[in-house]
């Protein structure tokens, strides 16, 4: 027996430490799920209006369901919460009929009003949804979500009044509707909105709630949260409980597909307003409408999803419990896949992929396939010498894309010569000139740099990553070898790299882009003059005109031809050098069924099931010999 107090203290300390270890493990052990997959990063949020990435989309797609959803193989929009729909002949009015057994995960019915609420919230400037522009195809939606900069005198407006500071932050203040008479500058970037309300004219000053609660408003003025376009002007209309009518600005052939995209999912008003943000997203509070609901969440560890018994198709959903692990290290992911602890991983480290692909007999769980995506080098056309189209073409012609894909990329990536990757039905990607070092040298000489003499020293900017570095080094060698110019490489970590791109502080920069939706517009639209994504500073009036005309074109075939013409112009002018298309590097266990390889690398969880008895390759291995 330790009678010495010194010893006693030491023993107590040790016991405390062990108790701590035990306590932190207490209750954290979970039984194995039916299906486990790895998400390559922790999700930013589960709120479908606020997220943008693919890992987030996997969770949101499982716990929420929009009016439509994607067919797991073809990605065609198919019935979701809406059972059927009609599109007017001019392509502008969409009438959607909801299922009468559409329900939330707490069993309450889900109606067209829920979509009205969710779409308005999605567009509300206070929600600050990054993807809000995806809904700007709806009539007047852009003006609404631009807030006070979207309205001018004479517009019908709505004024949202302030709430007490302690009100849940998801609640909306009282709304007053009227006509905007004029906007007065108060200085210091503050403005007063004079609004005519039946029988009266009132001046409103937007401010935040705490400000409004603590201070007197300026003379003859009322505080308000914000002044917006009257939402009744926006093309969203509840016809009855089960019918929703959407009106668009322009005929948009891919709009149905967008409706299946997760930002267009409904959120539960009662849940949001009862708990406030971000509390409503907690596993014990959140109310959802997808095929799964969140049973448990531990940050940077996992989501445990269980089947939502209130979902209309619940009887056909075969997986009961799904674990989505958040794991940054792809090597760790591979280790877990190899030890049978997970059933699907989304990425494989390149050195391992090289070895796995060479295995004989070929593996039955690996099938890299290209999807709609591209890897490019952007040329900053606002800087010399890239303002000269001959220089841009010469640089493109001097790159040996085959050497890049065969030497550096193990997944069977395909060299690319166009902005729009191949794989969009009905669209023919327009290619730039192929490799031709002789022609490249000739063009460079013509531009005034014979054999590279007088050519300024340029650098290739990439965000810090091994594979980007390897490609930059190889392109540097190729340009030096073929053109005799001197090139450096420069890496910056992601945040700095993005800010360098946006402020055009670069010569040549790497850029990857994955299609937002299955239409060439997702790429072509980036390069219109002063477009948000047009970081190369390139501008062409004819191109802008074609993109604009395609937007209002009703005939889908004609529209695609216009976009092809636009891409033709871009690839002649070459502000970008396409290098290759990415491949999806999923590994999926052979007993997993209903997992298809498709053009957007999107794999809805509701379609997946497990069948350990079946013989032969599963759907995932289709197309691999």
């Amino acid at each position: 027996m330790p009678t010495n107090p010194r010893n006693l203290i030491a023993w107590i300390l040790l016991a405390c430490m062990l108790a701590m270890v035990g306590w932190s493990l207490l209750g954290s052990d979970l039984p194995r799920a039916d299906f486990t997959l790895i998400n390559p990063s922790e999700v930013k949020s589960v709120d479908p209006a606020l997220i943008t990435g693919q890992p987030e989309g996997r969770i949101a797609g499982a716990i929420f369901e929009g009016l439509l959803r994607y067919h797991p193989e073809t990605l065609e929009p198919i019935a979701g919460m809406a059972e059927r729909w009609e599109i007017s002949d001019d392509g502008l009015v969409y009438t959607l009929y909801l299922r009468n057994n559409a329900k939330w995960s707490d069993g309450t019915p889900l109606t067209a009003r829920d979509f009205h609420y969710s779409f308005r919230r999605f567009l509300d400037p206070r929600t600050a949804a990054e993807y809000a522009y995806q809904a700007w195809y709806l009539k007047n939606a852009r003006q609404y979500s631009s807030g006070s900069s979207g309205i001018e005198a004479g517009d019908d407006v709505e004024v949202e009044l302030n709430l007490p500071v302690d009100a849940p932050n998801t609640r909306r203040g009282e709304v007053i509707r009227g006509k905007l008479v004029r906007v007065e500058e108060r200085g210091n970037e503050e403005r007063t909105f004079v609004v005519q309300i039946p029988g009266d004219e009132v001046a409103f000053c937007p401010t935040d709630d705490s400000h409004a609660a603590s201070r007197e408003p300026p003379a003859n003025c009322r505080w308000c949260r914000q002044v917006l376009l009257d939402f009744r002007q926006v093309g969203i209309e509840v016809v009855d409980d089960l019918t929703l009518r959407l009106t668009l600005e322009h005929p948009t052939p891919y709009f149905l597909g967008l409706l299946a995209f997760y930002p267009f999912s409904p959120v539960n008003q009662a849940c949001l307003e009862a708990h406030g943000s971000p509390q409503w997203t907690k596993a014990d509070k959140i109310v959802t409408n997808g095929t799964y609901r969140i049973a448990f969440r531990r940050i940077r560890d996992r989501f445990r999803l269980v089947r939502n018994e209130h979902h209309w198709d619940s009887d056909n959903i075969k997986l009961g419990v799904i674990d989505v692990l958040a794991m940054e290290s792809i090597t760790t992911g591979l280790n877990m896949f190899m030890t049978d602890e997970v059933d699907w991983i989304t990425d494989v480290p390149p050195p391992a992929l090289r070895v796995l692909l060479k295995e004989d007999p070929p593996r039955d769980d690996l099938n890299p396939q290209p999807y709609l995506s591209g890897y490019y080098y952007y040329l900053n056309t606002t800087r010399k010498p890239f303002d000269d189209v001959r220089v841009r073409k010469a640089l493109s012609m001097a790159v040996d894309r085959e050497e890049i894909t065969t030497r550096l990329l193990p997944g069977g990536e395909i060299p690319s010569y166009s902005l729009v990757p191949p794989g969009i039905p009905g669209y023919e990607p327009q290619k730039c000139a192929p490799e031709n070092p002789d022609e490249a040298r000739r063009l460079l000489a013509e531009a005034g740099y014979p054999e590279g003499h007088g050519f300024p020293r340029i650098d290739i900017l990439y965000n810090t990553h091994e594979s980007h570095q390897a490609i930059a080094e190889l392109v540097r060698k190729q340009w030096q070898r073929e053109l005799g110019i001197s090139v450096r490489t420069r890496n910056e970590e992601w945040g700095s790299y993005l800010s360098s791109l946006q402020t055009k502080q670069y010569n040549v920069a790497r850029r990857g882009w994955i299609a937002d939706y299955n239409d060439p517009n997702t790429y072509i639209n980036m390069f219109v003059t002063d477009g948000e994504q047009n970081v190369v500073g390139w501008s062409n009036a004819q191109y802008d005109q074609l993109v604009q005309a395609a937007m209002t074109e009703v005939d889908p075939d004609k529209r695609l031809r216009m976009l092809e013409q636009a891409e033709r112009i871009l690839m002649e002018e070459q502000p970008i050098i396409p290098l290759y298309s990415y491949v999806a590097k999923n590994m999926v266990k052979p007993y997993v069924r209903g997992f298809y390889t498709n053009s957007q690398d999107d794999h809805p969880l509701w379609a997946i099931w497990i069948d350990r008895e079946s013989e032969g390759p599963n759907e995932f291995m289709k197309g691999r010999q």
Binding site: S24, L25, K44, D47, R300, T332, T339, G495, E532
Partner: protein
């Protein structure tokens, strides 16, 4: 004693304030903000987000607002983990990191002490040479190399441990070992040196002369004295284990604070990064303080009163 503690506490507050100020301005001077993303935001939307996080105010005003919040213990919302406040992130991650760290520390001290004492007692034998060789290697190898070797050995060749994850005790053993291994090596070397030192002192010779058995001499009479240098090493070791756990956490997919820290910094998550920097500062201060106190417990020459 109490005056000493109060002085310590005062210094901690001052240090926290300096750390806060320096991190605040450093973070905001790095190019790229928390909301730079691949898709540019429309200016109106960006303004709204910035308003929500107070980023539209002048820097000095932001500084004082945030200083006020931190003093009240409110670390704010995480910029990048939209569903969590910083306090919630810490509440979920800290117990996990601490559990991992404590187990690593237990590994480090027990393995290190046993190895160190053994090789001191059997000084100059084969055992001594082999143990010290292993210890030198342990110091030289970074923990991700040790982790790689351990995974190949104990996950794939002899499958006794799971590859990664959190929730089970056996998922904790391998990462804790890898995290503690380099410190075990240090402890072994320190323990050996100090043990040799103590063994050559007069009171040990006296004990032996009185006929005390060799085991009792080592464990009762020599070990306590030999522990002191080891304990003073534990302060920095705890600091290293807590802040250095991110590599191991990543390799073994453990949802502790290490990975939050690196991501917060890389993604300009100002609030989360600030919260973690302050947390680490407090932890390091407290650990050093405990080490100082433990001198009083261990060293018979220091009076407890």
């Amino acid at each position: 004693m109490i005056a000493f503690m109060l002085r310590r506490l005062l210094w901690m507050v001052v240090t926290l304030w300096v750390v806060f100020t320096v991190s605040f301005f450093l973070m905001r001077s790095v190019p790229g903000g928390p909301f730079s993303s691949e898709r540019n935001l429309e200016p109106e939307i960006r303004k709204n987000i910035e308003k929500r996080y107070n980023l539209d105010k002048p820097l000095v005003e932001q500084y004082f607002t945030e200083l006020g919040n931190v003093c009240r213990g409110d670390l704010g919302y995480s910029f990048k983990l939209g569903d969590y406040t910083v306090n919630q992130v810490i509440a979920e991650g800290l117990p996990i990191s601490v559990a991992l760290g404590v187990l690593a520390l237990i590994f480090a001290t027990t393995l290190g002490l046993v190895a160190g004492v053994t090789s001191a007692v059997f000084r100059g034998t084969w055992g001594d040479v082999v143990l010290m060789l292993i210890a030198t290697m342990g110091i030289a190898l970074p923990n991700f190399v040790i982790a790689g070797i351990c995974i190949i050995l104990f996950v794939f060749l002899i499958p006794i441990f799971p590859a990664a994850g959190w929730g089970d005790f056996d998922q904790l053993l391998l990462p804790a070992f890898c995290l503690g291994a380099p410190y075990a090596a240090y402890v072994a070397r320190i323990a050996r040196t100090s043990m040799l030192d103590v063994l050559s002192q007069d009171h040990i010779r006296t004990a032996r002369a009185k006929g005390v058995g060799p085991v009792r001499v080592v464990i009762v009479h020599a070990l306590r004295g030999a522990l002191l240098p080891v304990v003073s090493f534990l302060g920095p070791a705890v600091a290293g284990i807590l802040t250095g756990s991110l590599v191991v956490e990543q390799i073994f997919a453990i949802p502790g604070l290490g990975s939050h820290f690196i991501h917060a910094a890389l993604q300009r998550d100002y609030t989360l990064a600030m919260g973690l920097v302050l947390l680490y500062t407090v932890l390091l201060y407290v650990m050093n303080w405990i080490v100082d106190l433990s001198y009083a417990v261990l060293d018979p020459r220091v009076e407890l009163q």
